[in-house]
Symmetry: C2
Subunit: 175 residues, 2 copies
DNA sequence: TACTTTGTTTAGTTATTACTAAACGTTCTA
DNA sequence: TAGAACGTTTAGTAATAACTAAACAAAGTA
């Protein structure tokens, strides 16, 4: 029915779609998919061949994937090439991604909420008392929501070695 | 120091950034922020005035926000205008967003992984036995990861009325 | 030292997406 | 029924992001 290449292509397309859905480049998903289906680590040129992307694109995407912990770079002695292999411990990847997202723009944006709250509580601006109280209440609620989210991700990240089965079980207890 | 408008603007920009970070339009974050800081529901025209966006943009973004459960439309008798208010129960919103994401493109992409697995197990393609076994193992692992993720989101969605404090506590038990 | 082989960086292109401006369809009002 | 008030839709634009092609840097090899 379907030949080897077609079967693999469908898989690659699927992961590309998932990648795009989560706001990552499509090519990133494709690269990961190719590596994931490969028994041996692949070099940059092999990835060029198997994905149809150019070296430049592979280079940048591979770097991002490494930073996220979704793939791991492999260097062989006496071989100047870089090889890459898919990380098969998804839980490890998730922790890696979470700690990655923790920083950067997100924290920065969340911080601005904190600043707003501080200014309001410091009496800045010329709000009438009722409005100020209202604003403080609202912003404070948002703030604590972010704090809870943060705690949650930290908690998840702390669960080293444990798989999702565990989380699943725990949550099922709550019904 | 900072006037009322500046304080609010900073907050709006912050939420815009958060929105963008999660792959949503910046304007969506801005609209939610404005509503969130408003004691009373706002009409479309008031949103136009306070965000600087045009009616069209407000219209589409407001629809998306409603679908996600982040804001709620309010209609008043004898008033043809639509009003919108921010949902303040973030937990409710999260559940809503999760169930929204559940469907659509994501499921579709995940399904393609399942199809790949089925084809492999059905003996399609002309892989040699060793490679087929390898591929099946890999794809199966990914499949069960997705299943676990799915269970997790369902479990979270099932926790009606419970706040994040609960989840936090539960996860902290695991250390 | 010149030439290969590798990966990275950059400048420019393509594709996508969020937006604006304006036309449109409805529904209410005079 | 004409006109006004709303929200939606659409066609076009602007901004952004991912990619290609090619120049480049680094580091080995002849």
């Amino acid at each position: 029915m379907a030949d080897n290449q077609t079967i693999k292509s469908n898989f690659v397309e699927g992961l590309s779609g998932i990648s795009a859905f989560w706001g990552f480049p499509k090519g990133m998903g494709a690269i990961f998919a190719v590596l994931y289906l490969s028994p041996a680590p692949l070099s940059l040129d092999e990835l060029v061949a198997q994905t149809g992307l150019t070296k430049g694109a592979i280079s940048t995407n591979v770097r991002a994937l490494s930073r996220m912990g979704l793939i791991k770079p492999i260097t062989r002695l006496g071989d100047r090439k870089d090889y890459y292999a898919a990380e098969t411990d998804f839980y490890k990847s998730i922790r890696s991604i979470l700690s990655e997202r923790q920083n950067s723009e997100f924290d920065q944006a969340v911080a601005s909420v904190k600043v707003t709250l501080q200014k309001l509580e410091a009496g800045e601006g010329s709000f009438d008392p009722a409005e100020r109280a209202f604003l403080i209440e609202r912003v404070k609620a948002l703030q604590s929501f972010f704090d809870a989210l943060d705690s949650l991700t930290r908690a998840v990240a702390r669960l080293e070695g444990l798989g999702f089965g565990t989380i699943q079980n725990v949550l099922s207890i709550l019904k």
